[in-house]
């Protein structure tokens, strides 16, 4: 059993606020009359966004396997593509290859002149309001806001409040220092992607570096919600169509077990292999291991037990595996500074 220390970053995301410099977060700005037309060519979802709105989707290869985990965003008539994809992919080239008859657009790589700091945690909103301004509080989940320094994207894949802040590269030190200083009263912890990855695992968010490495399709990843059923043509649409026709017989399911295991370890039911581990990590909050396994039909349901992994018991559970604190934090009542006071439920709406 792992020790209960060494999880400061994770606990900050779950209980207060964590700051991470996200070097793997990419952002492209698409300008021009056809900005949303080109977005429509490449995305498997409807791109008719409201001003300021973000939407979580995937970019698929010809086998309908996601190679990029992205948000599409609208600010006025500009489109933004924010998200994670391997640095080995030249995304602008890939987009241009799918332009078809669409031509009036220009793509600007915002990573060239900007950097990203991300704040995650149940009180990230409060720190942001103090450090940047109370207008941050008016941002609904999945929205973007222009600021004089750059942009704020409210998203997050940890199940807690999450803000991706985009700053000009030359102001890196200034903003990092400012947020660290503003974060002191919030017990801010600087984290890396390991802490974030554990949180995304617990909340069943997709991680390109983890389950993204196994050539799984959206139904197997339980990510059909990132696609629009009505959309007919997009990269990977033919493969997707064929998957829907043929069906699929395994999918990722969340599981818990008391002992550690390795990726690709087999999950056994009555001596038969019914699946394998795709990702696993220790959950300091649950004090057990949580993972995602690719499990065969009909064992692929949550809420089942009787499985074994390396002779240890394993059961499947519903995602998310955590009752996130952010769900219970009310911006109109709560504050990090009163978090330990008794909460009078009668005050809530």
């Amino acid at each position: 059993m792992p020790e209960e220390n060494g999880y400061e970053g994770y606990l900050a995301i779950r209980n207060s606020v964590a700051l991470e410099e996200e070097t793997d977060l990419h952002c492209l700005l698409i300008k021009g009359k056809d900005a949303f037309k080109i977005l429509d060519q490449i995305c498997p979802c409807n791109v008719f966004l409201q001003n300021g709105q973000m939407k979580h989707t995937l970019l698929l290869d010809e086998h309908a396997v996601p190679f990029a985990d992205v948000y599409i965003c609208r600010k006025w008539e500009d489109a933004y593509l924010l998200g994670y994809w391997p640095s080995s992919i030249n995304m602008i080239d890939w987009i241009n290859r799918h332009q078809g008859s669409v031509s009036d657009y220009a793509i600007i790589d915002l990573n060239e002149s900007n950097f990203f700091l991300t704040l995650n945690g149940p009180y990230a909103w409060e720190l942001c309001a103090n450090a940047i301004g109370p207008e941050i509080l008016g941002m609904p989940y999945l929205s973007i806001m222009m600021q004089n320094f750059g942009m704020v994207f409210r998203a997050g894949i940890t199940g807690e409040y999450g803000y991706h802040l985009m700053f000009p590269a030359e102001q890196k030190k200034e903003w990092t220092d400012l947020l660290l200083e503003a974060g002191k009263p919030f017990d801010l912890v600087v984290t890396d992607r390991t802490a974030r990855a554990q949180c995304t695992l617990e909340n069943f968010f997709f991680d390109l570096n983890r389950e993204g490495q196994h050539l799984l399709t959206p139904p197997e990843l339980q990510l059909q919600w990132r696609l629009s059923r009505q959309k007919e043509k997009y990269p990977g649409s033919e493969a997707m169509q064929s998957i829907r026709e043929k069906g699929w017989n395994k999918r990722l399911t969340c599981f818990i077990t008391k002992n550690s295991a390795q990726v690709n370890d087999e999950i056994i039911y009555e001596k038969e292999s019914v699946g394998r581990v795709i990702s696993i990590g220790y959950s300091p909050l649950r004090k057990e291991f949580i993972g995602k396994a690719l499990i065969e039909k009909p064992f692929w349901h949550a809420g089942l037990s009787g499985f074994h992994i390396n002779n240890q018991e394993l059961e499947t559970i519903s995602a998310p595996a955590i009752d996130n604190r952010s769900i219970h934090v009310n911006l109109n009542l709560d504050s990090y500074f009163t978090r330990n006071e008794n909460h009078d439920e009668s005050l809530r709406q």
């Binding site: 009555e270 064992f299 995602a319």
Partner: protein, 96 residues
């Protein structure tokens, strides 16, 4: 396969079908039942539902499954389709 597990799987599957059907019809979702993966988030991302939908879901589940869902239970279960299924199974079949 042991009967107990078989039974659990059957309950899980039939509840999933019912919940998917309720969500699609009551919320006018433009999805086929097969498009709704059980761990799909309901709010924010995922199905992108809102507070009005939350009320509709609880009322529909109560009347279809003939169960009573408290505010607290509703709030905890309104995370994913799977957490709704957990709640219904707990209410209808206990923890067995």
């Amino acid at each position: 396969m042991q009967t107990a597990l078989k039974k659990r799987i059957e309950i899980r599957e039939s509840t999933m079908i019912d919940v998917a059907e309720i969500l699609i019809s009551a919320l006018h979702l433009k999805f086929e039942p097969g498009d709704l993966d059980p761990d799909t988030p309901l709010f924010g991302s995922g199905l992108g539902l809102d507070s009005v939908d939350a009320v509709v879901i609880i009322v529909e589940l109560e009347s279809r499954f003939n169960i009573s869902i408290s505010e607290e239970e509703g709030k905890n279960a309104l995370r994913t389709i799977n957490t709704l299924i957990d709640l219904i199974i707990r209410k209808k079949y206990g923890n067995a």
